[in-house]
Symmetry: D2
């Protein structure tokens, strides 16, 4: 149902942002996968708010300071998966729902539509539509990553902020990222806004936005190298539409494109097909991976908790940097699902 994602690597999330806790139950993870629990916690920490900027000293993102301590309740024994459901719990430490209760309905926010749907409005911080819900996604994605990299250690995945507001990576900056030899993810994370260049400019932009009660959207791009051919299922479970669904299920998203995306709609076929470089299709054709580098982008709108109405809440001038680990997590989860599905397409 609507709180579950995936077909074979299938996970169900639960928890309200201001209730006792949040978590996820993962079904379908094969037995015998060695899990690095430190790595799981590290992924969780990557989406935590409250990191200070190394240049300005400003906290770039929301100042909620939950510990986000992961507890695994089942499915893992002595560091290995059992083949049974892996259930994970993170308790909420900071249930300041009263901050939110005093707020009027926030424009662009889900509170009022929630009321139309369920006949009540959850007074506890937006319920399931809070950004904190993404914590469950990051846990599932971190598990999926370890599964995927056990089977295909050569897969390399990185997400990064392609643009914030009117700042966008140029060709040279993209080339620079592509040429990083070591972990691209660590390189990106070394920039406080995960915009892998012009650190000072971005920090200044966000610090000013925080002061002014301004908010910005942006675009997250993902690259995946080393993906085997043949992943993705025909018709309704193609790689491209499942990724689109995964990304567009994240809060504040407003668009998805794969390869050259919307730009392809303005090109001549003869120009497109002349390229030897097939990255323009994002590493898939007909929804099935080709073994080429996968590329896709997700657009995020500016957050709605702008200063004048949200001053008693906690203001986040731009959620895009924190969305990067969420986007990556959803991608790992899709890959894990597709890899398991592909095992069932032939009998050999």
């Amino acid at each position: 149902m609507s709180n579950s994602f995936g077909t074979l690597f299938r996970w169900t999330t639960f928890g309200e942002s201001h209730g006792p806790g949040l978590g996820v139950v993962i079904e379908g993870c094969p037995a015998g996968i060695t899990l690095d629990l430190n790595e799981l916690q590290k992924q969780l920490n990557r989406r935590r708010p409250g990191q200070k900027d190394s240049v300005t000293g400003e906290v770039l993102v929301t100042s909620r300071d939950e510990a986000d301590q992961l507890e695994i309740l089942s499915g893992v024994f002595e560091g290995k998966t059992l083949g049974t459901p892996i259930s994970c719990l993170v308790r909420n430490q900071n249930q300041r729902s009263q901050d939110y209760e005093k707020m009027a309905a926030r424009p662009g926010h889900a509170d009022d539509v929630w009321k139309n749907k369920f006949g009540h409005s959850d007074p506890r911080g937006g319920g399931r539509s809070s950004g904190r819900e993404t914590l469950s996604r990051v846990i599932a994605g971190a598990m999926a990553q370890q599964l995927v990299q056990t089977v295909y250690p050569q897969i390399r995945l990185v997400g990064f902020v392609k643009s914030i507001y009117n700042m966008e990576l140029n060709e040279q900056e993209l080339k620079n990222l592509a040429e990083q030899r070591d972990s691209k993810q660590e390189y990106v994370d070394s920039f406080s806004a995960r915009f892998p260049t012009r650190q000072h400019d971005v920090a200044t932009l966000l610090a000013q936005a925080k002061e002014a009660g301004e908010s910005y959207g942006g675009v997250v791009e993902v690259w995946i190298e080393g993906v085997p051919k043949g992943l993705g299922e025909p018709v309704f479970y193609k790689m491209k539409n499942v990724l689109a669904s995964a990304m567009m299920s994240i809060g504040a998203t407003s668009g998805f494109e794969i390869g050259d995306g919307f730009a392809l709609a303005q090109q001549k076929g003869t120009d497109v097909h002349r390229h030897s470089d097939q990255e323009q299709y994002g590493g898939q054709r007909g929804g099935i991976t080709t073994g080429e580098k996968m590329i896709f982008r997700t657009a995020f709108k500016p957050t709605s908790s702008i200063l004048d109405i949200a001053k008693k809440g906690r203001h986040d001038p731009c959620i895009v940097p924190r969305a990067v680990p969420v986007v990556e997590a959803m991608t790992w989860a899709v890959l894990a699902d597709m890899i398991l599905l592909q095992k069932t397409n032939t009998i050999l």
Copy 2:
């Protein structure tokens, strides 16, 4: 599985483009819906190739001339749904797979990845990745439309070509469409390329493309008015991500955006939220409909059957006009599913 779509209004498609036939089995359509069979056939005809252009006399789209005669095998009796599975069959009349067999693998086409997946390449015209597969979608969508309009007769839906190659509807042309009082769909269909303006320019562009073996992509936009509040399910079955999945599952798509989409990523929050007009979010917030006008767009890449390598096949300079009824059909199917799901969220 991967050939099924929807949760409660759930349909499974079958059929290869050059096998005996194609069809769909629809589960979950409630009993007692009056079906207008002529309307179903009419929707099927809207995706048929071979229409001549009224200006140039050129056939704008692929010259395959199947009759596409719909046969309902079950689930309907005396014009009403029984509550049992509705199964539909359209036989292939024109199994010229040998045309395709002689072709080399077409760049950008799914044939070669298919081989990596299933250990064989279906010699019959791309198998399930042919455009003819969309026929099943149009049938299911036409059924969904009749279900939706039985429950909510006020819903008005129209899809149209927003752009082909470098031609794009301008503000005034969009306003003109918005002000059409009668059926917008009929108005759009009166233009051979479903680009509701500059008929002669578009026809000329496409006629020249056909001659030159050129192909173009484009963007399809959908407007839905009269949608009730509260449709869409939290977290992983939001209106926006299910629409994204539905659209990106169509062949040749490369991008999806809702409301102002990617443009929102470049705007200031204070500018966005200042508008009284909320169409910028596409009629949903947090993935749940707000009752406002819904707007979304789907990008299509240029087709890959360009002249020099495909001369023995049938050349389609632009599939975007024919994609409009497919996009509409997928939208109706999503609406039907969401309406049935919403019935289960409260007990009253």
Copy 3:
């Protein structure tokens, strides 16, 4: 949904008994399986009514004489599965629904509850609750059998009538069947009522029942040898409960037991566990196969179309013999599903 069965080997049935036709769409059958189409048709013929008894010359079962000609619409090319949905159609030849329309509601039959459910009563012979619906099951099961035996050729499955009314196979007769060296299925089929002994007595019983308008139930037993260890998924998709669901979904069933079944409830644990022969648990423990011989039974109630009220319909004194191929088909479908699922439990 309710017309689909299975998780990975997943099939959806459609069709009313007196509409244009019935069929099934099978998803999840791996690519590259060689299908013997004659064998498929042969399995279909095994459930056909109208066979004459070799002893009495009486037609033992319902005299409907449909040809039941199978047409494969998709998913198979040159005798091999493509990995795409396999859709099959059997047209109804003999739509004498008027026979049934004249009948009052039949006691024990589903017609009147159908009306409570869907707001209409399908006048066409009980709609989806007719015995003819089992045709779709036999097709799916015959496909599943060919898949299973491609992977595990050593699996041997036989279903037979264990009892009709008060006639039951005794220990010696069971032993005799167990000792058949060649195909047990062919041996069983050589008895017109699939009760593999006392041919004349059973034929006489059924001939008298037909004349007197009497009807009888019975029990079908299934043996499966050569099943690999480890099939069946923990908790809610155990071999035992999926088999129970499969069998109890067949019309006219009233009970299911595995191994010694209800008799186990009356035994002492020390007696049960003392046996070296573990067939008492039916070849599974905790719902997972042990590699031992699997045994289970399904009870069928007497049919409800008794003479005095059904004389204008076609009377079937005992449907149990014709239920044998249906029970076998459901078993093959469960095995196919479990085999595919087991492929996803480990990554090696």
Copy 4:
């Protein structure tokens, strides 16, 4: 997947018997249902082991003494359901897995087949195949009960032990139970073995079995009165086969029958259909409820932890009394699912 049950009232269980805890995540429970948390805890307590017999002072069932304290982590606010996933956790207090580690594989137990399936044997007390797994079922069932009784307060459900070993309720004892005016469940619970008669005889039988290391199976019967007509979905989601699946998924079950079950297979049709009392079909026809009293039975085999090999574990001479609340819980869950499904069959 295999740890989830239900279609619309869909719940996923997690937890090993000797890990940190067990629980369940329930999706699809409508918003606005008032939950009585004391009632939930009371249902949990009903399956707890360790109750002393009022006659003999003997502990009739396993002496594990977990507190089984239920914590609701999400989905409920101020005593009402939110429409979001309801997640529940019960921590294990008593992780004496070392008791079990010293044991050899127990005959009839799932430990060794588990190894064949997942490539490891969970040393922690049978993992997911322990009786403690039923705790998740009881939680889900207790939630389902409150949902069902909010919609249909007239539904009355009772489970009881029909037989243990060779002791079986006779006609008069069944009649006596049927004539109880007040809560039949409370009446049954007043008997330590939930065999609602001959308290002293049963207590003596079980006390002797415990001393002798003997174990017994038995049969649980369920009666449901006040069920509306029309519940259950055609073909593969009939009331009878979903109940069969629900019951046969419980550990130690070996058979299921509805109405007169296996006895019907030995009766003449003319005798069966002559009755005005339709309870012989168990309150359903064609798998759809008729509004009549529903009756079904589930057989349990003797437990396998017999004394000589299990003396370091904790011996349970008969799990059938403790199975009653589990059987009831699964029944409530099935009813909840069927009630929600029926809401989608018509549009009115």
